[in-house]
Symmetry: C2
Subunit: 121 residues, 2 copies
Amino acid sequence: MVDMLPKLFFVHFRETSFVAERDGELAGFLVGFLSQSVPEEAYVHFVGVSPAERGAGLGRELYERFFAAARTGGRTSVSCVSSPLNAGSLTFHAAIGFDASPPKAGYDGPGEDRVVLTRNI
Amino acid sequence: MVDMLPKLFFVHFRETSFVAERDGELAGFLVGFLSQSVPEEAYVHFVGVSPAERGAGLGRELYERFFAAARTGGRTSVSCVSSPLNAGSLTFHAAIGFDASPPKAGYDGPGEDRVVLTRNI
């Protein structure tokens, strides 16, 4: 996870990144940003929910916070990517209203296939 | 390098990212962005120069392009981070006018110490 989340995200994308705690422990987080190049779009870079917290709606709530921040930033759509092998992620994103592209071979580099997920907000 | 450079940077930060080619081959690149949270600042995420091209000013030229794009975006300072063990990077950044912080232990995660480099533009 360290490679996916250098500190820069927590310094430079604060308005669109959220941490959830329960009893002082990390329960989940979402890191995203307003696209600099695509003015109608916001992008979710990374989401994590603690195993003990799964299935209770925390992922959905983190996304709802992000959608609200993206709307405040003038955005009308949200995108993210997921591995085509990550069935849990694909099921979750479908449940909260994302459409999935066909898998794109090598999207994030050699062997790193991705599905692009998009949703209007 | 793949972990540091998911495709999102080339989709969402196009105005502040540059690729240099020579005879159709990649010679160097710089990926950066305008900070979303720090309105006076731009950030350089990753720079690479091909071994055959080093020492000929290409790194400096990529930074000059980035400084110009950052000024166009209304920014007055640029920051980036480097490992305290990367003497080549620290020497290069000093030569083009960056000031270096003392090393910050665990800045990018456990064992990932960083020097923060800053320069006014």
